[in-house]
């Protein structure tokens, strides 16, 4: 069975290496600050007993006060998984660092989140819309999106 | 040769009518046989609505194609676009002038019959390229380029295997080749037959060499922009080429009109249809090759084998001219098996990735 690692334990480990980067943590997930996302992700990928080399999915959710981007990570060798979240404030031009340099599977996922939610990912080689056409106005998956109907 | 009614012009007119009628009927028959046969190979029925057993299907196809709108691409080269089907179709039709249906029954008994066929059939390649170029379409251009490369490459093994037959028969004339076949040349020249058959498949753009009009890649290749009657000409050309190659194979390798019991003309028909059956049997079974594999196959496999075949045939004609043919048959069969097995061991159909 794939073991879902406890958010609290991982948060404790990370707190030592990257102080001040954890916002909150619970049994099922941990929330990190946007700026330290790339460092933490890189640590999670390269540290030998965590070894999260497989990015299962990236999702973005619109809670009106903030955007929450959820990363589902898996390790093939150790067969454990972890959920890492980050919050993104501001609705005008939210931005996060891109993890494409670590996991290439994030390529199309980040483009999709930009297309449908409007969150930019800095460092992505090809940040443009993927499903909707160039010149489409608005970001449909946001809760306050209306296309004029 | 003796002309019908001793008048050249009546002979000419009569045979033109006979040939046109024969070609068009046989093409209709071939279209029907192929579609039903392919359907049966693919465990489905094939056309069976139009007429009893779907026999009138080709007629329905012909009517459909005739009444379709003729679309010409706006930026294409209009004169070349208009001429291309003509240049592609007419040379193939001209091949039938020297194909003997029966002893003495052909339009013109040229004493360079087989050379005439090879020369004229190459002109069709120009027509194909004209079609690909004038369509102003990248897909057609790719298809036309592939086709030219393929047609040119496979001419050479084709011609070389014919030369083997000519050596044994001692003449280029089609009637003399048939008359020289006391035993059919397919037995005397098994390697030559295989080479000619494969090269013929490539010349008429049939599977496994039909990458020119590969439906799943470049969507019909060089005739993608054609519609209406011009498309019908290309479609006819494809089946006419198949008919022409089948007729040539019958004449050169299978003994033409010779056979017991039945009238000669019927034997000719049976053999032509039999060869065509082989054509579409192969089509329904084998996947297609890629262009670089096609070229490698022609130049590295067929060409050396054709040259060796020529050498061996020449030696046999020179040294064993008087030996009983059956002994030569066994020797040639053995040589063919050894050569084909040996060459295919050493021949890799690779190609591979180009560093970009």
């Amino acid at each position: 069975m794939t073991v879902a690692l406890s958010g609290k334990e991982i948060a404790a480990k990370l707190q030592q290496r990257f102080p001040g980067s954890i916002v909150e943590s619970s049994e099922s997930n941990l929330v990190v600050k946007g700026e330290s996302l790339l460092d933490i992700a890189s640590f999670l990928k390269t540290s030998p007993d965590l070894d999260f080399d497989y990015l299962t999915a990236i999702t973005a959710v619109d809670y009106y006060a903030y955007f929450e981007v959820v990363y589902q990570l898996t390790s093939i060798k150790h067969n454990h998984s972890l959920v890492v979240k980050t919050h993104c404030y501001g609705r005008d031009n939210p931005a996060l660092p891109s993890v494409v340099s670590l996991w290439r599977g994030a390529d199309f996922q980040e483009r999709e989140i930009y297309d449908l939610m409007g969150i930019r990912f800095d460092g992505h080689p090809n940040m443009k819309r993927i499903f909707l056409w160039e010149g489409f106005k608005g970001y449909p998956l946001r809760k306050d999106f209306s296309n004029g109907n | 040769m003796t002309y019908l009614f001793d008048n050249y012009w009546i002979h000419f007119a009569l045979f033109v009518v006979i040939i046109l009628g024969f070609v068009l009927t046989m093409i209709m028959g071939f279209i029907y046989i192929e579609r039903r046969g392919l359907g049966r190979f693919q465990i489905r029925l094939g056309p069976n609505r139009v007429g009893p057993f779907g026999v009138l299907q080709p007629v329905a196809d012909a009517i459909k194609v005739l009444i379709k709108e003729d679309i010409i691409p706006a930026k294409g080269d209009k004169l070349v676009f208009w001429l291309a089907p003509v240049v592609a179709f007419v040379p193939i039709l001209m091949i039938f002038a020297v194909v003997p249906f029966q002893s003495g029954a052909l339009l013109a008994d040229l004493n360079i019959g087989i050379l005439y066929i090879v020369a004229v059939s190459s002109i069709a390649a120009v027509g194909v390229f004209m079609a690909g170029w004038s369509s102003n379409n990248k897909y057609s251009l790719i298809g036309a380029m592939r086709d030219i490369a393929q047609l040119l490459s496979y001419e050479i093994p084709l011609v070389l295997s014919i030369v083997g037959v000519v050596l044994i028969a001692g003449s280029l004339s089609m009637t003399k080749i048939v008359e020289a076949q006391s035993i059919p040349f397919i037995l005397l020249q098994p390697l030559g037959f295989l080479i000619f058959f494969t090269a013929a498949l490539a010349e008429i753009n049939r599977c496994p060499f039909d990458l020119v009009e590969a439906d799943s890649e470049i969507v019909a290749g060089f005739h993608v922009e054609y519609s209406g009657m011009k498309f019908a000409m290309f479609y006819l050309m494809e089946y006419c080429e198949a008919l022409a190659m089948a007729a040539i194979i019958t004449t050169i390798f299978l003994g033409g009109w010779k056979g017991p019991l039945l009238p000669p003309f019927l034997w000719f028909l049976i053999k032509v249809v039999g060869v065509f059956f082989l054509f579409f049997w192969i089509r329904s079974t084998i996947p297609r090759l890629r262009i670089d594999q096609v070229m490698a196959f022609a130049w590295k496999f067929l060409l050396p084998l054709a040259l060796i075949n020529l050498l061996i045939t020449a030696l046999q004609v020179l040294v064993w001219g008087e030996v009983s043919p059956w002994a030569i048959v066994f020797v040639n069969m053995a040589i063919m098996v050894v050569l084909v097995v040996l060459w295919s061991r050493f021949f890799k159909l690779g190609g591979g990735r180009v560093a970009v």
Binding site: T56, A57, W133 | Q42, A214, T285, P287, G350, G351, V354
Partner: protein
Amino acid sequence: MAIKTEPFVINIGPQHPSTHGVFRMRTTLDGEVVVDMEPVFGYLHRGVEKLAEGRSYKQNIPLSDRLDYISSMTNNQAYVMAVEKLAEIPVPERAEYIRVIMAELQRIANHLIAVGAFLNDCGAFMTPFLYMFREREKIIDLFDMVCGQRLLYNYMRFGGVSQDIPEEFLPALKTLVNSMPGFIDEYDQLLAQNEILLARSKGVGILSKELAINISASGPVLRASGVKRDIRKVDPYSVYDRFEFDIPTGTVGDAYDRYWVRIQEMRQSVRIIKQAMKQLPSGEVLTEVPLRLRPPVGEVYGHIEAPKGELGFYLVSDNSANPYRWHVRAPSLFNLTALRDMVIGWKLADAIIIFGSIDITMGEVDR
């Protein structure tokens, strides 16, 4: 005088006989060699995730059917399992076994199309494709017997399946399962050692092991590259831990390996179905669940091994009748990430074959 050449751009798709669905590849060709390729998506984007936020959980079951419309039983299973995990709904044993049988039948049906379409792209002119359709028709007839539908089943419900299997189902399934290995051998015999097929697909479009893991590939694509990862073994769900089956793994990761892995998976699916039929218990098939289900506040990520890869659903609930967020982890989208790397350097004909060997459905790529 040197001849000047320049590369030209050609669009393969969106209408094309062999792009599986509406997908456009903008290729730059230098003669016949592909020097650059850009995939263009979005031709089938229907806004499924936004639609789902306006419908109740049960109304979203038919919506999940239409994601990967070729294998719709497994879509249902993934979604239904995710909601059951979130709302903690128990599932009766008989329903679990029926789900496994349906999922494995769906896997065989999907691989029949995948292999048939791949051979069609290679140029074998529909003959193997139509032979495989003969078997797929039998499977679809079985599905028709169970739920009345041939393509988009809407069969599974929260807490089980919507109706029990009729009496004629098991004998018909038994005939199919007994004859299936013979048919798979027939396809193998015609094609596995075919010189031309080997020449067209061996060594073509290699996806290395490291790259496969890095792009989060899953399913036959990942396994053909040498990674032995199958959600049914690694994170067993439903009753898969009660069956014995192998995970076929390739070595090189070329198009031929992907074809081979799918053929072997069909054999393993037949094995699983035989065991499930033997162990099938009696009982009821559905736990009663309210029509407008209101799961507790929370989120869940539930995944299964769909025929195309790891299909996952990420659901966020705020205790109302409609989901707050409904996200699909589509395996085909991840598998396509490295398409550019796999295709560059090969010829146009190979690009089509490589694309066909990945086996995608645009319904789940574009959603």
